[in-house]
């Protein structure tokens, strides 16, 4: 479970999130809101990329401020632009990066690499230069690079915003098939209709926190 | 050295290499080798990243060139280039970046002319001081002829100083805590 207690976040004297308290335990959680409302800042708090100005964020009891390493092992993070998430020039090397950071041995790294490439039908791309993949393949590689680290939670910040419709749907299917708890920041409302919980963020506050049936109409009203 | 420092160093290595891919500017009717944009990378690395990270960026760049990566303009690379006539200039790059970084960051509030002057000092004066004697010896040209050849490059280098000054100041305003 990810717990936020009285969390506020400011950049200098510019407040971005105001006193948020939440417990995230459902398996499929969506976060929606206008541009600049604070969704990315909220997501970044969950794996310690951003640290709260006041209040605490904890993941399975580990404080993001004090136990960053334990948090990072539990919470994977997928960014909007896979170009900035793929660290290494070759697909296989990039998949290995996170696993090496976890201290896994060569054999395990090779096995997990093969597994994930087979799962997403990318075996033939193992030694392919990452920057030559298509947009959809790149995002799938970015997600794979997180999944091979076997996190319990996956936070995704608008992972489909840059993709075409077919690839949006493909990524949505991939996400729905995951065993992990996912916290998915998105503008694609049709993808989250059967989620367990939807959090609407407005000007740095939780404006609505409910089922999709309630939260999505609320959000549409808010944006109207 | 934080993760961010490593990534910035890599970025300026890449930037210096990418500048080598820009079409060179031919001049003097093609009687002299073309001017390339690459030393702009040196000036930017120093003025944006400061002495330590800027110097490391160019040190890594030169090491990659020495290992044979074709990162110099015209796709040149390898140990031989460093031993060649322009080798002194290239080997001077890490020092130039460090000098520029030291000066520019120590005087962060200097006006645009002073910043430009400091970039010119490291990017032209220091570079020529180290590069020209090398060229004179390796090319068996003697100091006077080497100096005469290099005069042709000063206008281009001054343009790069202006660009580096404007970009470095712009970046510092956009990202105060690079």
């Amino acid at each position: 479970m990810i717990d936020l207690k009285n969390v506020s976040l400011s950049f200098g004297d510019h407040p971005v999130l105001h006193n948020i308290s939440l417990s995230l335990s459902e398996r499929r959680i969506a976060v929606i809101g206008a541009n600049g409302s604070g969704k990315s800042s909220f997501a970044r708090l969950l794996n310690g990329l951003a640290l709260p100005t006041s209040g605490t964020v904890s993941v399975d009891g580990f404080d993001t401020k004090k136990q960053g390493k334990d948090v990072r092992g539990r919470v994977g993070f997928v960014f909007q632009n896979p170009d900035n998430q793929i660290v290494f020039p070759v697909v296989e090397e990039d998949l290995a990066f996170g696993m090496k950071n976890l201290g896994l041995d060569k054999a395990t790294i090779a096995t997990r690499t093969t597994e994930i490439l087979e799962r997403y039908d990318m075996q033939h791309l193992r030694e392919h230069p990452a920057h030559l993949l298509s947009g959809g393949q790149k995002q799938l590689l970015a997600i794979s690079g997180v999944l091979v680290m076997a996190p319990a939670y996956v936070v995704l910040d608008e992972p489909t915003t840059l993709l075409d419709l077919r690839n949006k749907r493909r990524i949505a299917r991939v996400l729905n098939a995951l065993d992990q708890t996912i916290i998915h920041v998105t503008h694609d409302l049709d993808q989250i209709a059967d989620y367990d919980r939807v959090i609407v963020i407005d000007e740095g506050r939780v404006a609505c926190d409910a089922t999709p049936a309630k939260a999505i109409p609320f959000y549409q009203e808010l944006m109207a | 050295m934080t993760i961010k420092d490593i990534v910035y160093i890599a970025l300026f290595v890449a930037l210096t290499a990418a500048l080598g891919l820009m079409p060179p500017i031919a001049f003097a009717g093609g009687a002299l080798p073309p001017i390339t944009a690459q030393s702009l990378g040196v000036m930017l690395a120093g003025s944006v990243l400061g002495a330590k990270r800027g110097g490391y960026a160019l040190l890594l760049f030169v090491a990659l060139v020495a290992m044979g990566f074709p990162l110099l303009s015209g796709g040149r690379g390898g140990f031989g280039v460093l031993l060649g006539t322009s080798g002194g200039f290239i080997l001077a790059w890490p020092i130039c970046a460090a000098v520029i970084g030291h000066l520019v960051h120590k005087n962060a509030n200097a006006n645009i002319w002073v910043t430009g002057g400091m970039i010119a000092f490291g990017g032209i004066l220091v570079m020529y001081t180290l590069g020209i004697p090398w060229m004179a010896v390796v090319g068996k040209l003697g100091l006077d002829k080497s100096l005469a050849i290099m005069v042709a490059y000063i206008p281009g280098d001054l343009v790069k100083v202006v660009l580096a000054t404007v970009i470095a100041r712009g970046l510092r305003r956009a990202y105060p805590n690079i």
Binding site: Q85 | A18, L71
Partner: protein, 198 residues
């Protein structure tokens, strides 16, 4: 793109990068210290023979020196004018020999093998505070960033074209620089979130 490596199975291909680099350094230094035109010319012939050994076509060998043709021409002209034909030939041949030799190493060695040996060699410098893992991370990132920068430059130029600004260097360079820094910030977040400890 950055890898000039030409696949092959010759003795030179199979040699490991460390000794190859060392041999290059020694040969280049020796070439520098001697001053005879005859020896230099023989060296060029010997190096071209090594290209044969490595099964690399002469066309590829020539391609290594073609980008430097202008420099050769100027040096040759200046030297000839001031110091005579012999010295001019010596200077230019020596340059050509150095470049051909260094290129031979590059052509017969994979970039990744070169990075690996460099990372290994860097372990020697650990006592003075060099961290080989960080250096190899920086190298990998730098090689990845080069094509990305090219792409950002194209995008910015196209965007400025619609405003008629594509020829203004600052109007292209400034947004390019800002986007490049933004990308670097995002990449460091990604590295951090994937558990890299600095």
């Amino acid at each position: 793109m950055l890898d000039l490596y030409t696949p092959g199975t010759s003795m030179l291909h199979r040699m490991s990068p460390g000794p190859k680099m060392a041999a290059l350094a020694i040969a280049a230094t020796a070439l520098f210290l001697q001053e005879s035109l005859l020896v230099t010319a023989l060296a060029v012939v010997a190096i071209l023979a090594l290209y044969r050994v490595a099964n690399i076509p002469m066309k590829t060998a020539l391609a290594q020196i073609r980008p430097l043709m202008w420099i050769f021409v100027i040096f040759f002209a200046v030297q000839w004018y001031f110091s005579g034909l012999t010295l001019a030939a010596y200077v230019v041949l020596r340059l050509a020999a150095l470049i051909l030799l260094a290129s031979l190493v590059t052509l017969t060695t994979r970039a990744s093998d070169m990075i690996d040996s460099m990372t290994r060699a860097l372990r020697l410098f650990k006592p003075i505070g060099v961290n080989p893992d960080k250096v190899s991370l920086a190298i990998s990132l730098a090689l990845r960033f080069i094509p990305v920068l090219g792409r950002i430059a194209t995008e910015v130029r196209e965007a400025q074209k619609t405003r008629g600004l594509e020829r203004s260097i600052i109007a292209v360079a400034m947004p390019l620089a800002i986007r490049a820094i933004k990308m670097a910030d995002d990449v460091s977040d990604a590295i951090e979130s994937r558990g890299y400890r600095s």
